[in-house]
Symmetry: C2
Subunit: 163 residues, 2 copies
């Protein structure tokens, strides 16, 4: 029972109720995002949108994504310095990233909510995010073939992968 993004129609209603207009551009983006189950970048969504509505502006895509995030209808995920990705999964969840191909996968993490930081007693904690880094099965295969081993902590690699 995953909470996915609202339907395009629901989003349209929400927009109207907030005094925002429901333009063709927004409708298309609502549609594309609703169908989407990975974690696209603004550019990727723009490419999809352009295919169906040539002339739509990248600016409009960014703007709509920001609005939706502000309204809590989608989440942003920032991992490793690459472009921001958006997440239509509104469920309380976490992420696994492949340090080879950059793929991001949603995961459930039992016990995450119970985690407690020691050393920040003066903070009012509001939210916790867990990110696992690893290698996906298909990248694991190519690694085995080329004899590479999984390198432990390597931020540099991580940075490169995300580009």
């Amino acid at each position: 029972m995953v909470f996915r993004m609202q339907s395009p129609a629901a989003l349209a209603a929400i927009y109207r109720s907030m005094g925002r207009k429901v333009t063709p551009q927004r409708q298309l983006l609502f549609q594309l995002m609703h169908e989407n189950d990975c974690h696209p970048t603004a550019e990727a969504l723009f490419a999809e949108a352009s295919a169906q509505m040539p002339g739509i502006s990248l600016r409009t895509v960014y703007q709509t994504l920001n609005e939706l995030a502000e309204m809590g209808e989608l989440q942003f995920i920032d991992i490793g310095g690459g472009p921001t990705r958006f997440d239509p999964n509104l469920d309380d969840h976490h992420h696994v990233v492949c340090i080879d191909c950059g793929q991001i996968r949603d995961v459930q993490v039992s016990g995450a909510a119970a985690l407690h930081p020691s050393g920040a007693e003066d903070f009012v904690i509001n939210e916790v995010g867990v990110v696992f880094q690893g290698v996906c099965s298909s990248c694991e295969k190519s690694r085995a073939k080329s004899g590479r081993s999984v390198r432990a902590k390597s931020p540099a690699l991580q940075a490169k992968v995300s580009k």
Copy 2:
């Protein structure tokens, strides 16, 4: 105790042993990083370095940081899209971020290593990072004064969860 970054002398030795040269620029940066116990950006470190060595290039700072990260002598932390910060704390630790002032604090999280993702059984997990978001005490005060409250999770999620 906390495993801090290697001493400047140790880093110099490591550099030499890898066929890298120990230049005055690098020595200064080793020194500054070793002394540092917060999470500076490249720019911040550049500013410090410039004070002691006018004319040092920002490019050199970036280059040295990347080298050290590649060698595992420091970590990068990427939180929320701002400039990359580097972390001279090599211990196994996690972070708390103040969503108001952006302050980052190192914290220990007992049980973090035991976390397991469900939904990524085909990944070989290599590392786990936990990031808490919250409000630090001094920001909390200003919030109280201005009547703002800590924003809970996104409105949409809130609505759904409460059903």
